[in-house]
Symmetry: C2
Subunit: 322 residues, 2 copies
């Protein structure tokens, strides 16, 4: 794909309305953690949409509840990383992913004593809620996590590039963990109708176009020294490893986490230029509610550390534009 095409995408699609606000937040977050010498991981999570109309009623969506990304973010925090959690609006988020709104309301007891109403968590729910709440409060009190959100594939790319601009200053201490399910296809802005498609005009034909592969400029230009991990979700086992290898050869990044839709919650394959490593949860672990993300993140954190040691002091960061 010609390198002009990603530039064309940014030329044609306007940034989202909250773009400048998010840029400021990202800049402040990265500068703060850079000062402390922290490692920062950008976790992307959830699916992107492709609007079929300008006044959007219908869109093409990619399946992703955000399970992988939201769980991984928690484990990166445990490993001492600062986390930029860049997620699809309304997809799962770290900590709250454990509870639906209804589950939380069911945990509450209300006591009305005259003018004094108090609401407490039922004693038998405290055991479940307390450890998660403590980790949630600790992460927020430390300013260790920043949430930014997207909906469309165009919002996603704008935010991703903005995050990369800030992360570049951390050099190899920055990791990109690109777990979001990003559309491969979209409809160029000038081909999207303004109003809702009318069924009276007969069933529509949707002609999709290929989305430019942003991993190319990301690895080569935006964050050339960062530790970049991409994800590959397939439904056909035979395509899984070959497609992961192909991506590594093409984009020259550090790792592809390959997984099948059907088994993604208990089996992934970490594919790097040097090796192929399968991570599988046992039946007992699945029953005990172990997240496979704890194993994925632990292994990637280890590899990132090795990489940082190898790089040693060879990386001298460009001056931050503070």
């Amino acid at each position: 794909m010609a390198s002009s095409s990603w530039e064309e995408f940014f030329a044609v699609h306007l940034p989202p309305p909250d773009y400048e606000d998010n840029r400021s937040l990202l800049k402040e977050f990265c500068e703060r953690h850079e000062q402390y010498g922290n490692k920062i991981v950008l976790v992307t999570s959830g699916g992107t949409t492709v609007p079929l109309e300008h006044n959007t009623v219908r869109f093409v969506d990619n399946f992703s509840a955000g399970t992988r990304g939201s769980a991984s973010a928690e484990y990166f925090l445990e490993h001492g990383y600062a986390v930029i959690f860049m997620h699809r609006q309304k997809s799962l988020e770290p900590f709250t992913r454990h509870f639906s709104g209804q589950k939380l309301l069911d945990m509450l007891d209300i006591q009305e004593r005259g003018p004094n109403t108090t609401i407490t968590v039922k004693p038998d729910s405290v055991d479940v809620l307390a450890p998660i709440l403590l980790r949630y409060k600790a992460a927020h009190a430390a300013g260790a996590i920043l949430h930014v959100s997207f909906t469309t594939v165009s919002d996603y790319f704008w935010l991703l590039r903005a995050a990369c601009e800030c992360l570049a200053y951390l050099g190899p201490r920055a990791m990109l963990y690109l777990a979001a399910a990003v559309s491969d296809f979209y409809i160029p802005k000038d081909k999207v109708p303004t109003h809702k498609m009318q069924s009276a005009s007969g069933p529509p034909v949707i002609q999709l176009h290929l989305v430019p592969k942003m991993l190319a400029p990301l690895v080569n230009l935006w964050v050339p020294t960062a530790y970049v991990v991409s994800f590959k979700l397939e439904t056909d086992e035979n395509l899984l490893i070959p497609k992961a290898r192909l991506a590594l050869e093409k984009y020259k990044h550090k790792m592809v986490v390959a997984n099948l839709l059907q088994s993604r919650h208990h089996r992934v394959i970490l594919v790097s230029p040097e090796s192929t490593q399968e991570l599988v949860l046992t039946r007992e672990e699945v029953h005990a509610g172990v997240d496979i993300e704890s194993a994925i993140v632990a292994e990637i954190v280890r590899l990132h550390s090795d990489h940082l040691s190898l790089m040693g002091e060879s990386f001298s960061p460009p001056r931050s534009p503070r």
Copy 2:
């Protein structure tokens, strides 16, 4: 559209895996409230999906967070209706719609005193949470609300028909408030590819087909004496009333709630065969956080009551198959 086409839809698309469980729940709920002489409203809410692959990674979605349906369900409960809340999985639900998971966690204080950990709602959050929690607990304690959920347009139609089978026994005391954003288009089962579409094969063309209009058999055959309210969302003001009138003439139901995507949270038009009534929130009401659904539901409840009085004792329900 030939009447065979909705029958064909059910012949070709299998019921969802939880179909029989949901049918039992619906039957029990309707029989219980029929015994008490209650009115029941079926509120449908959220958008339906159309899978583009059998192992679904990508789908076409209709925009709907479920705001209208989830708010309306609360107001129907206040008016003494039993509510079947049939919603898109993960869309907004009554009561919990007021809080995201994160907002709820932020309301909590944790006190660790030796082995006794307690979690309480912060005093300044109690004012907001208490009234909602009380209404939530009252509705659930009374068994006044049943939640059933769908994802695809096919799941939706199967559930809708199952609910109608049970509601038919209530005659005019049953209301259908069809606020879900149902796809007009779909891809017939035999045209859906098994595996994830590959970008290497070039950008795909999606040929959509018209979904059969289920309102026709619903009004004529499934619940011929129920009070049926449908919704029409448009982005073009000029099409709004004409399309609502057209639907009423075609399906012979009681009302269309017509609204524009841009102004739907503060303006709707209730279109019935006899009249057109605009409901608009003032700027002050919008700022005060008034839900337009409280006005919509109040007016529709009034019209439903009038209708029931008119029908008087003329309706003798068919015998329930208990």
